[in-house]
């Protein structure tokens, strides 16, 4: 449990937007895990857990969306609370800027980016988890990276010290 809960909680949090709900979701996933035949999950426990968490989170979203602070569009990412990208973009040193940038992405891109770069899932695993085609996953990631890259470039263009320290060696 300890091995997976951190990763799952972070993923759940990105989907449901608040920690108690995320904990609910992950706890439920573990309950479900207890009911599984261990043999049936050998070798695919992680994707299985992710799938359950995702389904739970989305289900919760549908059921409780009205009361949830987080609508799928905004607070699904904690960074929704941050100021606009341009305001916080100066603070490149603070890793928070990335979350701010992520918040500007559409939810589906955001999720794929997280699964790929935070949870280290492959295109194929992401596609199985999200029920998108692999091509679709590739397209979402591609688009997201392009967008993020533009943000980064803008950031580099204005920021002071950190880019000043690019090595000048010829």
């Amino acid at each position: 449990m300890e091995r997976h809960e951190g990763e799952l909680l972070r993923y759940a949090l990105s989907l449901v937007g608040d920690l108690p709900s995320a904990e609910d979701v992950v706890q439920n996933a573990f309950f479900k895990l207890c009911k599984q035949e261990p043999a049936s999950l050998r070798g695919r426990l992680v994707p299985w857990l992710f799938t359950v968490v995702r389904n739970e989170a989305l289900d919760r979203h549908r059921k409780e969306g009205r009361w949830s602070r987080a609508s799928e569009g905004e607070a699904a990412d904690v960074a929704g609370e941050s100021p606009s990208p341009s305001e916080s973009v100066e603070t490149r040193d603070d890793a928070g800027h990335l979350r701010t940038m992520l918040a500007t992405l559409p939810p589906n891109q955001r999720e794929v980016v997280r699964l790929k770069f935070q949870n280290q899932l492959s295109y194929r695993e992401i596609s199985q988890l999200t029920r998108l085609t692999e091509t679709n996953v590739g397209f979402l990631l591609h688009t997201a990276i392009k967008t993020l890259r533009r943000h980064f470039e803008r950031l580099d263009a204005r920021s002071g010290p950190s880019s000043a320290w690019r090595d000048p060696r010829p």
């Binding site: 300890e2 706890q27 739970e56």
Partner: protein
């Protein structure tokens, strides 16, 4: 926004999603997908012809790396104790229906109240739909070949990334069910039901909710009633008096008995006694502490959990050179782009093989892609939140393969040293075993000539458990070729103030190392920044070694540094000599406290900018703990092209930083390096990698890097230790047995490609080490040669293999290097009060460290001895009975 169809690589533009997939080595280019090698080869041919595409790839990878690094900084949450407990209780008896959840028991405060209420009301309906969804997902999961992620992720403490291993094996069968089974995920639910589960919970009394509050350990057995229900929902708990006053903490249960640990809950805050000191003493770890203390805080504390990023103000993942202390960081901007030809592969191993070692090199057809810049993940990844526990023992029967991080960080050693020098024991989490181990250089066989890498494996009995063995694995990249290095015109301006003699000593030691590396093409000048501004040494050829050495040892601080004037003089010296085709560089060594007077900042900035335009570059090297990369405090350091900054918290870092100045454009020696250690289950019962896993974020530490492929720069080396429980009960083998194996990446020997990816080490072997890598593009040795064996799948891949015979010897008969490595790790185990420390004592560590001094060319090992003595003294002052909290002295 419609996904494009799959164009062939020749039709790619930077805008093709397939191109992104290629850069990420995923999707159709995932090594687990059938036919990826052909696609990759085709794509590489296209990309090799287009400089634009190549630079695009670099950009995509840089962004990906930035994103990955930043996402890794997100706070790691844990389920509350109560939730864990309810899951565990349920696991023991899954038949009795779902337990009630904490959120139903405790209406959450504030605006979540209705949300919770409705959550409870709508529960049955939700449960039904959840069941349906789960059934669907199970069906889907059963149907689909998920095995492409056999044992990665947090379940894989070895840190192996599937892609990396696939690459190493050059062959993988994603849909092969046996592969999935044999590499099975290590969290079989049955282990919950069978094993006596002990949750040691700590509850933070409601003092101020800070991480530094006293934590009291409360052992909960079985389905004990919730200790602190409020904690369960992330609501600030009331102080349970019983919790605050009760209970002796318990040591972790997976202790020295060597049980295979599977997913049992081991909360990292099991050592209450050390926590209070941990927070103030290790500010960089506050996020860790905050993470574990989260139960005491409100749920919205995510943002408060993030001081870690802030404590690295200069961190900029895209620019590895910003992290000056990383010994291996070669400026990625220029390093790979230079594409300097470096001979790789081909030669015969220089390592003297003792015992039946075999080495294999593989070369193959077709050029690799032209150099593609990958920003080094190392400096940034180091800051990833680490709630660490040590890797547990794994069963070789179910998990015969492992890997280890190739670029461990270098923070832990200075942190621990700083704590000890300040008279306190370090926080356990700041003691990272693999970082300590790799702080020192070992005598690995040096790869030379055309060889890219060499490896050495040594086996002996474990000093802390005579029934176990320690396996020391050393991997060494060929040192840089002086012929490749451009000539250097170095001017060193020493701006250390009186009172910083210790740092001056570091600087001198570092400079001596630089002097050793200089040759007739280079020159070095030394001057002191002070009221008199003495020129210790005018620009002097590297050939005049004696003068250089004398000059370095003549360095003395002479008073308040002048800043602007000192720098002017340094530039003037630099201009006295011009090196054709080389680099001119002023290295300004500061004690970390320097700040330019307000009035001179503009002038400094102008001077630096102007000189840079003339081709004289500046490197500022800040020495001393607490020196950080440049940014905020040094507004006078100007302009993008104006300078680089390195910070060194210790002599090793200082040396590495200066070494980099000499090798500004060193090309990597090997790219996409992956390590695959395969244990022979017939000879190995259980094994564990000595080091810590970071729990929480994604796969294990090192895994993302492994997945992307790590590059090794000239002179890089890495050392790993495995502790092994042999399968045979009888004590084997005397000192005469050969217990060290070496190999270079020369040709000959067995063909590892002939074994399938699931092949274990061969019969009679203890383990085999297989290192996969690709020569950097443009490397003439990368060209195919007749008779070279091919690695299936990847045309450019090579590998190096060491088969280690099942033999051991007493630790007394081991090499000095081995003893020293064991001493360093033992020191870490004792400082962590590790459950794996066996019968280790401080005296034993000291004895090993003394016997392991070896030549100690730089005096680091001697320094280590002092630290051990200090730690022993501090430990002597604290109770060190296992299980009792070790309270550092204030």
């Amino acid at each position: 926004m419609k996904p494009s169809s799959n164009p062939s690589p020749s039709d790619w533009t930077p805008d093709s999603p397939e191109f992104t997939a290629f850069a990420l080595k995923d999707g159709p280019f995932d090594p687990s997908v059938l036919g990826w090698a052909e696609r990759r080869a085709e794509a590489e041919q296209v990309i090799a012809k287009s400089a634009a595409l190549r630079s695009e790839i670099g950009e995509i990878r840089r962004v990906a790396d930035d994103v990955e690094t930043d996402l890794a900084h997100e706070p790691i949450h844990r389920l509350s104790i109560e939730r864990r407990e309810s899951v565990l209780a349920y696991a023991r008896n899954p038949g009795r229906g779902l337990p009630r959840r904490s959120t139903e028991d405790i209406p959450a405060a504030g605006r979540d109240g209705w949300h919770r209420f409705w959550s409870a009301v709508t529960r049955p309906a939700m449960g039904f739909s959840l069941a349906a969804a789960t059934a669907l997902s199970i069906a889907l999961a059963l149907w689909s070949p998920w095995s492409s992620r056999p044992a990665s992720g947090p379940s894989d403490p070895s840190g192996t990334a599937p892609a990396a291993r696939a690459r190493a094996a050059a062959k993988v069968a994603p849909s092969d069910p046996s592969a999935a089974l044999s590499a099975g995920d290590a969290l079989p639910p049955e282990s919950r039901t069978e094993s006596p589960v002990t949750v040691v919970a700590s509850v933070s009394p409601d003092l101020d909710g800070g991480a530094g509050d006293t934590l009291a350990g409360i052992p909960i057995r079985g389905s004990a009633p919730g200790v602190d229900r409020a904690a369960g929902s992330g609501v600030r708990p009331e102080v349970p008096p019983s919790a605050a006053s009760a209970a002796s903490p318990r040591p972790p249960q997976d202790g020295p008995s060597g049980e295979v640990v599977r997913g049992e809950p081991q909360l990292r805050w099991e050592r209450p006694g050390q926590e209070p000191a941990a927070a103030p003493s290790a500010p960089r770890k506050t996020a860790t502490a905050a993470g574990s203390g989260r139960e005491a805080g409100p749920p919205a504390s995510q943002t408060a959990d993030r001081p870690m990023a802030q404590s690295f103000p200069g961190r900029r993942p895209a620019d590895p050179s910003a992290a000056g202390s990383s010994a291996s960081a070669v400026p990625a901007r220029t390093g790979s782009a230079a594409g300097v030809p470096v001979g790789v592969g081909g030669g015969v191993g220089t390592g003297v093989p003792i015992g039946p070692a075999s080495a294999t090199a593989r070369t193959a057809v077709a050029g690799d892609t032209a150099p593609i810049r990958e920003s080094s993940p190392v400096p940034s990844r180091r800051e990833v939140a680490r709630t660490t526990r040590e890797f547990p023992f794994q069963s070789a029967a179910t998990q015969p393969r492992s890997t280890f991080p190739l670029k461990p960080g270098d923070d832990s050693y200075p942190e621990v040293r700083q704590a000890l020098e300040a008279g306190r024991l370090p926080a356990p989490d700041s003691v990272r075993l693999e970082e300590l181990l790799n702080h020192f250089a070992y005598d690995h066989p040096v790869a030379s000539g055309a060889e890219a890498l060499s490896a050495r494996v040594e086996v002996a009995d474990s000093p802390w458990n005579p029934d176990h063995r320690l396996v020391k694995i050393g991997l060494q990249a060929r040192p840089s070729d002086p012929a490749v290095r451009p000539p250097a015109n170095l001017v060193v301006l020493v701006g250390l103030r009186p009172g910083f003699e210790a740092r001056l000593a570091w600087a001198q030691r570092s400079l001596q190392a630089v002097v050793d590396a200089l040759d007739a093409r280079d020159s070095l000048a030394l001057l002191v920044d002070g009221p008199r501004g003495r020129v210790i040494l005018p620009p002097t050829s590297g050939r005049e070694r004696d003068r250089l050495v004398r000059g370095v040892s003549d360095l003395r601080p002479e008073g308040a540094p002048q800043g602007l004037d000192g720098l002017r003089r340094a530039y003037a010296l630099a201009s006295q000599r011009h090196v054709t085709g080389g680099t001119s560089r002023v290295v300004w060594i500061l004690d970390g406290e320097f700040s330019a007077e307000a009035g001179t900042r503009g002038a400094l900035a102008d001077l630096i900018r102007e000189q840079t335009e003339w081709g004289v570059f500046l490197t500022v090297l800040g020495l001393g703990p607490g020196t950080s990369a440049p940014p905020a405090g040094r507004p006078w350091m100007p302009t993008p092209a104006g300078g680089s900054y390195a910070a060194a918290a210790g002599p090793a870092e200082a040396r590495a930083a200066l070494r980099r100045e000499l090798h500004p454009a060193a090309s990597p020696v090997a790219d996409d390096v992956t390590v695959d250690v395969r244990f022979n289950p017939d000879r190995v019962d259980r094994w564990r990698l000595i080091g810590q896993e970071a729990t929480g974020p994604g796969p294990q530490r090192g895994a993302p890097a492994d997945r992307a492929g790590v590059r090794l720069d000239p002179g890089d080396s890495v050392t790993a230790l495995y502790e092994i429980v042999p399968a045979r009960p009888e004590r084997p083998v005397g000192p005469e047995a050969s217990a060290a194996s070496t190999a270079g990446s020369g040709p000959g020997g067995a063909d590892p490609g002939s074994k399938g990816p699931e092949a274990h080490a061969g019969a009679g072997e203890l383990l085999s080490l297989q290192v996969g890598f690709r020569p950097p593009a443009g490397d003439p040795a990368g060209a195919p040669r007749p008779g070279d064996p091919k690695v299936s799948g990847d045309p450019a891949a090579r590998s190096l293999r060491v088969d280690v015979p099942d033999a051991s010897r007493p630790v007394d008969a081991a090499t000095a290097d081995y003893k020293f490595a064991a001493a360093v790790v033992g020191y870490g185990l004792l400082l962590r009060d590790s459950p794996y420390k066996g019968n280790l004592t401080w005296d034993k560590v000291l004895a090993l460290a003394e016997e392991g001094q070896g030549p100690d060319r730089e005096g680091y090992r001697m320094e280590f001895l002092q630290l051990v003595r200090r730690a022993q003294a501090l430990h002597g002052a604290a109770p060190s009975v296992p299980g009792a909290p070790v309270r550092p002295r204030p």
